[in-house]
């Protein structure tokens, strides 16, 4: 009952999320030929590029196209679109029920609070991550069809796995806020603000360590696209934070009066 209801409520949101992911990928792929023909000019234009980016642009860091796709689709795309979708989905959970006054009806059903919250969490995490994998799986086919370039699938799937865990962490934080707060607007402002500020901090060397995006960073996706190993350390931090935040959300939800 609960799962059906969540899926029903989210169907358009997930369609839009998937469409934006696909749109971002298509734009990335279509932009590549122009980018490729202007690489030298770009490198000369900005002489102080970080070493790893220079390596990417000049082809010394591995498969140029794969890195280009990974950076655009995962760092720029999934890292921005994913957290935004995570916050939007979390907005539709407990905080919304409280705001529209349906929380009493929901909690008076014979279902435990833990089950209610975990139903939201499981369905939403699947809704956030499955499209990411599906789009990644379709990427080689799309690249070949659109610009006749080849891109290996395995690095894309690993990149999807890592991006998924990062998005799950943002979702878990948003869900905790959805349990604690009573206004959707506040949740959107706090979680959205955190992601935007964090993204800005990432692009300044001095503030970079304070950004949550160090857990889903440019070098990680460059390495993944170049065939190197998964950044398991960052992955474990995201996974641990996700579990801790979800557990806290459940504990708070079970103890709260409505």
């Amino acid at each position: 009952m609960m799962l059906r209801r969540i899926l029903r409520d989210d169907r358009w949101k997930i369609a839009a999320y998937t469409a934006v992911l696909v749109g971002n990928l298509v734009a990335t792929v279509l932009a590549y030929p122009t980018f490729k023909s202007n690489i030298t000019a770009i490198v000369n234009l900005i002489p102080n590029f970080a070493g790893f980016l220079k390596a990417v642009l000049t082809g010394a860091g591995g498969d140029k196209f794969a890195v280009f796709v990974a950076l655009n689709h995962f760092f720029k795309g999934a890292n921005v679109i994913g957290p935004a979708a995570a916050i939007i989905l979390a907005l539709g959970t407990i905080v919304r029920e409280v705001e529209i006054g349906t929380i009493g009806m929901l909690l008076s059903r014979p279902i435990s609070r833990t089950r209610i919250l975990l139903s939201f969490a499981v369905v939403h995490l699947l809704e956030l991550t499955v499209p990411l994998f599906v789009v990644a799986a379709a990427t080689p086919w799309l690249c070949e069809r659109l610009i006749d370039e080849a891109v290996p699938l395995q690095p894309l799937l690993f990149a999807s796995l890592h991006a998924s865990m990062f998005i799950a962490m943002v979702y878990a934080l948003s869900l905790l806020l959805a349990v604690v707060l009573v206004e959707q607007l506040r949740l959107a402002a706090i979680a959205g603000g955190l992601c935007i500020v964090s993204f800005m901090l990432y692009f300044v060397n001095q503030t970079l360590p304070w950004s949550i995006y160090v857990l889903s960073s440019v070098p990680m996706y460059v390495d993944l696209a170049s065939g190197k190993a998964m950044p398991w350390g960052a992955f474990a931090i995201c996974a641990g934070a996700t579990v801790a935040l979800l557990t806290t959300a459940v504990v708070v939800f079970r103890r709260k009066d409505y």
Binding site: G101, G104, M105, L107, S108, R109, P110, D257
Partner: protein, 298 residues
């Protein structure tokens, strides 16, 4: 199996140190209808929400349908029908979606019965709930609560916004549920509704029970009131009336109030040349006013 639909012992709930429920000891027998009366903020809704597990008690114990509230909350809710005073709805859903969702969780829920009940209350089930008036939403809440074969009905101002005909229909529906064995806790500000439906009354104020009794037992303690006109001198200064009889002048006659057997009072009035008499049966409103005036003066 316990004979009580619920039993609370020293149930207490505080918010920031302020008691919303202050040591409530209360029982409701199976098949009984208990009226819950009190001013706004007295703690009625908090008590009902506590039984549902929406509000967690600060201290005290409660069993509902023989199950411990803290341990078996979900199992308890499977046997409860609940009508909130202010029904929040998913605005984009149709009424039928809403009924299906609410009843789908209940192991004994009967959706076809709920649909039939909603139709009998003239609710267009295919319409979105956002187009419903307050009264129509309340009818929807009643339909979902009464079609889960509940052993206990918790009704928190269930007739808010209902027209008089629907209020009467509601009473019939609750009486039918009661005949099927449901116990009912009815919280309402409509005292006539409470008086006509309930076996027993509980008055609550600032989280404390201030009175709990049957209507008949309460009535026996109320002062009966008469309006009389006599021809035998000033009744207000009379000394031959039974002890405990109070007399106030009111226009051409007197208001006489007394407790207990009316016979000696009537005999004294006849002896004083009674020419007109009017009996004012005390109502629940009189008792409510008296109780809460006394309580506020404490």
């Amino acid at each position: 199996m316990t004979d009580f639909a619920f039993e609370t012992r020293s149930l207490r709930k505080t918010y920031g140190g302020q008691p919303a429920l202050d040591g409530i000891d209360l029982t409701l027998g199976r098949g009984e209808v208990l009226g819950f009366v009190g001013p706004n903020g007295a703690g009625k809704s908090t008590f009902i929400k506590t039984l549902l597990g929406l509000v967690l008690p600060t201290s005290g114990t409660a069993t509902v349908l023989g199950l411990w509230l803290r341990e078996d909350s979900a199992a308890i809710r499977a046997r409860i029908g609940y009508v909130p005073g202010d029904l929040g709805v998913y605005r984009n859903w149709t009424a039928d979606d809403f009924l299906a969702f609410c009843i789908g969780f209940h192991p004994r829920g009967d959706l076809s019965r709920a649909r039939a009940m909603a139709r009998s209350m003239a609710l267009p089930l295919g319409d979105r709930v956002r187009t419903y008036s307050t009264g129509m939403r309340q009818k929807l809440a009643i339909a979902q609560a009464l079609c889960v074969h509940a052993d206990l009905l918790l009704l928190d101002e269930p007739t808010r916004g209902l027209d008089p005909t629907s209020q009467l229909e509601f009473r019939d529906l609750v009486n039918a549920a009661r005949r099927e064995g449901s116990a009912v806790l009815l919280s309402s500000h409509i005292l006539a509704e409470i008086e006509s439906m309930c076996d027993r009354l509980v008055f609550i104020d600032r989280g404390r029970l201030i009175e709990a009794s049957t209507i008949e037992a309460l009535r026996a303690r109320w002062r009966d009131r008469l309006y009389v006109e006599t021809s035998g001198g000033d009744l207000a200064t009379a000394t031959d009336l039974p002890p405990g009889t109070a007399v106030e002048r009111d226009g051409a006659g007197y208001r006489v109030s007394f407790v207990g057997d009316p016979k000696p009072v009537l005999e004294a009035l006849v002896a004083r040349g009674l020419v007109a008499i009017e009996y004012n049966r005390p109502t629940l409103e009189d008792l409510y006013r008296e109780l809460y005036t006394r309580e506020r003066e404490r």
